[in-house]
């Protein structure tokens, strides 16, 4: 129960991230704007080091701080992913912020701080740590969403996000309190054993499960807790949106799975039913409403809702599976799905961010009209991301869906897979519409002062990484598959 210095080594990546954040925040006021670019590189460097450390931590399982934090393959999987996404975000922001004339050095600090929150979330083995990590992440994101203060949309997004976030964290906390009451602890292993020792019909437990599910549902943007997503995604600066859509969702899934599998695994018959309903609702609503969007960020927001639905299929499958190791495939499929989702969604947002040039807002779907003529490479990359989001081989999106559906079928839910696939067809429509606009429509008048679209080097790196992820993992998913499988074994 006591603190040992060795524990610090285990959370070294988190510490490094926080340290870097502090350095960034401290240096920001004293640096001149050109020098402030260095902060981005500092952040990147830190993240790279962190990823190295995390990679070296793979394969072990160690508890730190008396079991509040656990360093295992599962956590490392997510931490790796999160660091990677954060790195991409820094790169994306590097050029995006210049475009937006948002010269805030604190920005990188917030990226890093929220990253540290996320890393805490996924490495936590105690509801308290999870809660704190979540709040650290959320608070940073509330601020980041409102960073474009000059625009009332950005502030409005921030306000909505904040109000609803606070509301949901109240709900989550309430659920945690009930769970604490029902099991006598906030430690996940202790909760699990307490549940195993009592009747699963305990109403307190059920109520706790529901409130916790609702709290996480908000973070995961699951219907009906999704409604903040489109507004916030649209209003927030694009780089922040990308970060939110990918990293925050990934971290939430990481914590969510750990809570529900490690902690509430004994109640899986109950929660899998709940998530089954939520999953179907999410699939339907996310895809159907995305059909009629006119703003690309909103569309991607609904798409991200829908993708949460697909990932939930894996969760449901894990809950419904009757086989001894049945849950493994379900969870692994979620891990894979979110990882693939990270690449493609981030890529899509990066392209959207790229379109933000001077007068060109680049956020209306119509703005993509004829992009293939104006910027063939950008259009092509967007095509790849859209294809992948639609889940069409040979892209990573397909592999992700494949595993999720495989889990569903294995768990005896082929009909769920059928529903999901039918809505995947619906989703194909709106992804294709973008392709159609880019490739099959002529661009409007190109006024002389409308700037040429140029990919900045940092953006190129982002796009290259995302594309490589989508394509390479689409063709050769084996490394990630085995990584996910390994990660899931740690969870058990």
């Amino acid at each position: 129960m006591t603190f040992s210095p060795g524990d610090l080594l285990l959370v070294l990546p988190e510490l490094l991230v926080v340290a870097a954040a502090c350095v960034v925040l401290a240096l920001d006021p004293v640096l001149t704007p050109p020098q402030r670019d260095g902060l981005a590189w500092l952040s990147l460097g830190t993240l790279a080091v962190c990823m190295g450390i995390i990679a070296s931590q793979m394969g072990q399982r160690a508890e730190a701080f008396g079991g509040l934090v656990v360093i295992d393959d599962y956590g490392c999987f997510w931490r790796l992913l999160l660091c990677f996404v954060a790195g991409l975000t820094v790169l994306l922001s590097y050029s995006y912020l210049k475009e937006e004339r948002l010269h805030i050095g604190e920005y990188y600090g917030f990226v890093l701080l929220s990253l540290s929150g996320m890393m805490v979330m996924v490495a936590a083995a105690d509801l308290l740590t999870i809660y704190l990590g979540t709040e650290l992440m959320s608070l940073s994101l509330y601020v980041m969403a409102g960073l474009k203060r000059a625009e009332s949309r950005s502030l409005e997004a921030s306000a909505k996000y904040f109000v609803l976030g606070a509301f949901s964290s109240g709900i989550l906390l309430y659920g945690i309190s009930l769970l604490y009451g029902a099991t006598g602890s906030t430690r996940l292993p202790a909760i699990a054993s307490a549940i195993a020792n009592q009747s699963p019909d305990n109403p307190l437990l059920l109520a706790a499960t529901i409130f916790i599910a609702a709290g996480f549902g908000f973070k995961l943007a699951v219907v009906p807790f999704h409604m903040w997503t489109p507004d916030v995604y649209q209003g927030a600066p694009t780089s922040v949106t990308a970060y939110m859509a990918v990293a925050s969702k990934a971290a939430s899934f990481g914590a969510f799975l750990r809570v529900f599998i490690e902690g509430l695994g004994g109640l899986k018959t109950d929660w899998s039913l709940i998530f089954l309903l939520l999953c179907i609702a999410t699939l339907v609503l996310g895809n159907v409403v995305a059909l009629v969007q006119t703003n690309i960020k909103r569309m991607l927001a609904y798409s991200s809702i829908a993708h949460a639905g697909y990932a939930l299929i894996g969760v449901v499958a894990a809950g419904r599976s009757t086989e001894s190791l049945g849950g493994v495939n379900g969870i692994a499929s979620v891990l894979l799905y979110i990882a693939f989702y990270a690449f493609m969604t981030f890529g899509a947002f990066a392209v959207v961010a790229m379109l933000r040039k001077g007068v060109v807002e680049g956020e209306e779907i119509e703005d993509f009209t004829g992009l293939a003529k104006r910027h063939p490479l950008g259009a092509f990359l967007m095509l790849i991301f859209m294809v992948s989001l639609a889940g069409i081989p040979p892209t990573a999106g397909f592999i992700g869906k494949f595993y999720v559906f495989m889990a569903a079928v294995e768990a005896g839910l082929p009909w769920l897979a059928v529903i999901a696939l039918i809505f995947a067809v619906v989703s194909a429509y709106y992804y294709l519409r973008l392709i159609m606009l880019m490739y099959m429509r002529e661009p409007g008048e190109l006024t002389p002062d409308s700037p040429r679209l140029v990919m900045s080097p940092s953006l190129s790196i982002v796009l290259a990484c995302a594309t490589a992820g989508v394509v390479i993992f689409g063709l050769y998913p084996r490394p990630l598959v085995s990584l996910a499988a390994q990660a899931v074994l740690a969870l058990k």
Binding site: L132, D231, V232
Partner: protein
């Protein structure tokens, strides 16, 4: 020590739901935040009651952290409100509807 823990639960449920109702029906964003505070307090009552019931300090520690987080949230929230008020001249939540559909 004869108060059953369920009494506390019921009290907290009432307070919690009052908070929820507040979030749902108040138009003033500050009032909404106040309602959120109600929800958090309800939670805290739960924690403390359980902590006492279980003879476990963990609940109280949790409350401590919840308080901290609440304070932080308030700080951020009020900053957002001020910024919003500055840009829109209102803190009526109904007026924040640039982003929709």
């Amino acid at each position: 020590m004869t108060i059953p823990v369920s009494y506390y639960l019921i009290l907290s449920a009432i307070v919690f739901l009052t908070g929820v109702v507040g979030v749902l029906i108040r138009r003033n964003i500050i009032a909404i935040l106040l309602s959120v505070e109600l929800m958090l307090n309800a939670t805290n009552i739960n924690f403390v009651a359980f902590s006492q019931h279980l003879q476990d300090l963990g609940g109280q520690v949790f409350v401590f952290f919840a308080l901290t987080v609440a304070a932080a949230e308030v700080a951020v929230g009020l900053a957002i409100i001020i910024a919003l008020h500055r840009s829109k001249d209102t803190i009526n939540v109904e007026q924040f509807n640039l982003l929709k559909w």
